[in-house]
């Protein structure tokens, strides 16, 4: 039981890491990024390829995360430009189509070029015991990485001018413009940062088990569910929802199997929209 719970929490943290980018890009840019899981896969696969070239895993991981960021930057500055010309619903719909198209392209490219590449990052000691509980080293490392990433993100949002600017645009884009803030520049930064966090979530997958090229859509689905349950404009909500869903996922997978689990999660997300459209945890940053 406890092992399942710990597993769930850690996987949940990884989900949060993936989903926070969806929250940020939607809150700031008004685009639901359907290629978000692909950023995670690109980060992980790039890491695997660089390690194949003989790079140290840490260096390769860092470069992989940067690579995911570069893809995010490119997406914001090229294919999403037409969507940004519009506001509201039009932007959302155009953004959905564009990012869906991008996910197809990335999936296809990886399938053709690197069909057999996968990322696994084995750790020197597979597990350790604390107070009678055996914990996988990978779980501990993933939890630490995810918590550190969130701590940095919150510090950035609360304590820096740029972070406050990000929150201001999420709360009121018109108001931000009245303060002389150029939302476009900030948006580019946030899309890049979000892609990097997804890339990190992808690399982290290699610690758990293995990251293959086919996982992009699954990542996107899970991240979307987490973002919806947490409230698509709430970063704290995303963190909490990720952990909650990780726990539900772990227990449900154990007792009822993976397919039913995904359904349970979807129903949870749909129920959230019906009962609390602002998200289950609607305290905002």
């Amino acid at each position: 039981m406890l092992a399942i719970l710990i597993d769930g929490i850690v996987q949940g943290l990884q989900l949060s890491l993936m989903a926070v980018g969806i929250t940020l890009i939607f809150g700031l840019g008004g685009v639901l990024n359907l290629a978000h899981g692909q950023f995670a896969v690109i980060g992980g696969i790039a890491t695997a390829l660089l390690m194949g070239e003989g790079l140290h895993p840490l260096l390769a991981s860092a470069l992989g995360v940067l690579g995911a960021g570069a893809l995010g930057l490119a997406m914001d500055r090229t294919v999403l430009v037409p969507a940004y010309r519009y506001q509201g619903e039009e932007r959302l719909l155009l953004g959905l189509l564009i990012t869906l198209g991008l996910s197809f392209v990335v999936n296809g490219f990886l399938d053709v070029r690197y069909p057999t590449v996968a990322l696994t990052l084995p750790l020197p000691t597979p597990s350790f015991t604390v107070g009678g509980i055996t914990i996988r080293t990978a779980s501990a490392v993933v939890a630490l990485i995810a918590l550190a990433a969130f701590a940095l993100l919150f510090a950035f949002l609360k304590a820096t001018l740029l972070g406050k600017v990000v929150r201001s645009i999420m709360q009121n884009e018109v108001g931000a413009g009245l303060c002389g803030i150029n939302p476009g520049r900030i948006r580019t930064l946030i899309v890049t940062l979000s892609a990097m966090m997804a890339g990190l979530a992808g690399v982290v997958q290699g610690l758990f088990s293995s990251l293959g090229t086919e996982l992009g859509n699954e990542f996107t689905s899970f991240a979307l569910i987490v973002a919806v349950i947490g409230g698509v404009r709430s970063i704290n909500g995303t963190l909490v929802a990720g952990v909650l869903l990780g726990i539900i996922n772990a227990f449900a997978s154990y007792y009822v199997g993976a397919y039913l689990t995904l359904l349970i999660l979807l129903v949870t997300a749909a129920g959230t929209i019906l009962v609390r459209p602002q998200g289950l945890f609607a305290f905002r940053t």
């Binding site: 406050k164 929150r167 201001s168 018109v174 009245l178 303060c179 002389g180």
Partner: protein, 236 residues
Amino acid sequence: MSILLGADAVEVAYADISVVRGVSLEVRAGESVAVIGPNGAGKTTLFKAIAGMLGLRGGSISYGGARIDGRRHYEIVQQGIVYVPAERELFPHMSVLENLELGAYPCYGARAERLKFVLDLFPRLLERRRQLAGTLSGGEQQMLAIGRGLMSRPKVLLLDEPSTGLAPFFVSEIYRQFAQLKREGLTILLAEQQVPHALGFTDRAYVLENGRVRLSGASRELLGNEEIQRTYLGMG
């Protein structure tokens, strides 16, 4: 004094329907000018066009001798024209201080000095500084919106219906602050339905009706104008 802000035959349309139809006006440096008129006369549309939030269909807008129409709204803020809309557009989940701090975005190095200036002007904001903007009363929110606008050290302040939804006490209070800002040399363009307040405070005024300037002149003279008295002051 030289003309600081000028609109020349400005036309603005929403979906092909003209809302502002050839409005020209001038504001000199240090002057306070009112734009009055009924709901739907085009006051807000005109202000949004000056602030760069709406594109022009015709005419031009100049500031300090250079054309600014076509510039992005955030560039216009950085140049010194700040628009305070009737909707206030605050950041509801941020504190009063954070709202003010963001107002100083274009001159962030000077934020401490600006903050002192704004909090001296609106001591009530000092009392409420840790409170979230969304929890303030209507009058306090209006003060915060004006205060946030002042943080970037603007040369021109565009105030759109600042008295909307405010209790009479607050209306008198914010007009007292406007008078002080005017004495300090700030140029103010004010759209207002509270005609007595607006004409009492400003130097000159334009009367907008159906997107056109119907009358203009010294505010004091307009206060004595029979038509104005009949239409806007409920006299006659």
